[in-house]
Symmetry: C2
Subunit: 380 residues, 2 copies
């Protein structure tokens, strides 16, 4: 017999979470996580599933019947979207303006799609004219874009313009709403988005593990009319239909506690009101942004593309971002993040999401950052 390792009961440290996610979890959501389990086919759980679906529809602002939490973290809902919508041989148009466009490409290729691009620099949104030109050139079947780019802090405006272009070409639109759902204005039906997905651990302030996805009937018809099986059994929506639809038959064991948590996090959205919640994110992020600018720091995106839930600020000359982050972590137990990809070393990413989007957190991040910058000789 191999012997057990010499480990103690778990006692994780406390952190202030102001990075690109996870955000801090609301105390009511933490509390529900320790509720005893019920079975995934229990009638009481079926009722909870119904309520999660209703609450998700409200939060996505959609009437879509196909609105469910996927049994995994945000990348699982993303792969469910691409893996189901994309059939082998489909042409898939994805953006190059951030980290998550690259992930869309990987997922679309693994689903058997042929990937083409619409270009924009990291840190800028897509230009509808470029999207229209890419449609004219490639005539894609599926078009993915990122509504709120976590890697660059850029909000994609003009979503309705993008979906109009796609629909004129009979294409399906998949929107990455990981960092917008529940924090930034998002209207799936009004903007005519076919498929949208998100994660729990951003503006919903829910532990990751059950991730929102919505598809309209048009998109679901494409999925149900596929010539070939979806390449994942776990994420196959035609099978998940049996569990989340009217039949309620067993597919896989749902992550019960994560569904509880999402249910409670969405209940908090409903209690606050979606528009009030968007407004709170904007107000809190404005407080953060003004504080950063008062320190002489510069936001990376233009004001019109500023993403309140994820604030990308330029690293001042002479400051070492790695050292800065380590000091915030070690001295202040505070998490913010550095840049990725094309913006590595150039920006800091400061989240303002969900339960983390409140004045004590904002003021703490501003004071800790000021101190850490001063320790590297930076002065406003």
């Amino acid at each position: 017999m191999q012997q057990p390792p010499d480990t103690d009961p778990l006692n994780p440290p406390q952190r202030t979470l102001m990075g690109p996610g996870p955000s801090e979890v609301h105390p009511r959501v933490l509390r529900i996580m320790s509720a005893p389990l019920i079975g995934h086919l229990d009638p009481a759980f079926i009722e909870i599933m119904d309520e999660v679906q209703e609450l998700l529809r409200y939060t996505f602002q959609t009437d879509n019947r196909w609105t469910i939490p996927v049994s995994g973290t945000g990348s699982a809902s993303m792969e469910t979207a691409f893996g189901n919508l994309v059939e082998p041989g489909d042409t898939v148009l994805v953006p190059t303006n951030g980290y998550f466009g690259g992930r869309m490409e990987s997922m679309a290729e693994r689903a058997g799609g042929d990937v083409v691009h619409v270009d924009a620099p990291w840190g800028e949104p897509l230009d509808p004219d470029d999207v229209a030109a890419a449609f004219d050139e490639h005539d894609p079947d599926v078009f993915g874009f990122v509504h709120a780019e976590t890697s660059t802090g850029v909000l994609q405006p003009q979503v309705s313009e993008l979906t109009s272009i796609a629909h004129e070409h009979d294409a399906y639109v998949i929107a990455d709403c990981v960092t917008s759902l529940g924090g930034v204005e998002l209207r799936v039906d009004e903007w005519d988005v076919d498929v949208a997905y998100s994660g729990g651990q951003k503006c919903l302030s829910c532990p990751p593990g059950a991730s929102p996805l919505t598809l309209n009937d048009r998109a679901m018809e494409k999925v149900l009319g596929r010539d070939t099986d979806v390449r994942s059994w776990y994420l196959d929506l035609s099978l998940l239909e049996g569990y989340w639809g009217e039949e309620r038959s067993y597919h896989h064991t749902a992550p019960i506690t994560n569904v509880y948590a999402l249910r409670e996090a969405l209940q908090l959205v409903a209690e606050e009101g979606l528009e009030a919640r968007w407004e709170r994110h904007r107000e809190m992020a404005t407080e953060l942004k003004e504080g950063l600018e008062e320190m002489g720091l510069e936001m990376n995106p233009d004001d019109e593309f500023w993403l309140p839930s994820l604030n990308a600020v330029r690293v001042p000359d002479g400051v070492d971002d790695g050292k800065l982050l380590a000091e915030l972590q070690e001295e202040h137990a505070l998490e913010i993040a550095s840049g990725l990809g094309d913006l590595e070393g150039e920006i800091l990413r400061i989240g303002c999401m969900g339960y983390s989007a409140r004045t004590p957190n904002i003021q703490f991040v501003l004071s800790a950052l000021e101190e850490a910058l001063a320790n590297q000789g930076y002065e406003a």
Copy 2:
């Protein structure tokens, strides 16, 4: 604006869970679920990941470096095993003696494999002679079997014989250990199993959402030497290697709370001791089995294939299993399950797993079952 639904804060009911999973969660594991989050790249989280890996190795009785929790429920770890090991064109041998052999077939086909079968009736284990004959006939690349069949309550004995046959043919063995890990004797290294997977919500008594997987170096070499990409980005072990291996680079956001929970559930395994835990499951299940037999009920499997963690008992003549389960649910808030597939209507499935494997639960299920059977006119 669509208005929010009229929902209240969540207050899930209490149940006694004696079905095929989820089992009841240990209070210490429930408590850790409400610990505040830390980031998935936080050095303290990396340490927790290391400890989870060590504790998983102990519980699987393996030295395998590639021992991780997959970011989803048990079917996700199952798909990770088949989706990574099976390449398009591989021949995959799967059993027909239960529900989960069928799921192996679906997953292997979606991975591009050609599926062949080794037959045995539902409710019986595989016969090594049949496995040898299937190897001689089909020369498969990958062989999947179910160590503990949740659908039939059958334990597969002679695992070493099965792995020997496979290795003589240079095939890889994948073992479904969903209902055995942490409850029934399982020795991955000693038995020479190449890949084993499990779930949290069975004998580990952990909420589902982070699911154990282990691969030996030989299996991982096949994965890393693939000619084509794994068809799932989310479950691609060559990418997960970057996060769980030495590099610690971002792949996807881990389900942080579920990792906490698994860490604590495995800590409880280490504190109890694995052999003592196997023995407790056997003792408690013996108490259950003897109680059932005293009521005149008959176990479905032969004694030598009896699976202590999942007790399959035959529905007596004249008893309606659906009505029985509904009464247990409604009158006693008690969950057990009916049969599936070939055994639908023929068996009841009573779990004896993890924290549910204790005398108060056993005695409660026996008395409630006796009462519900009497209400249908059954007498011992």
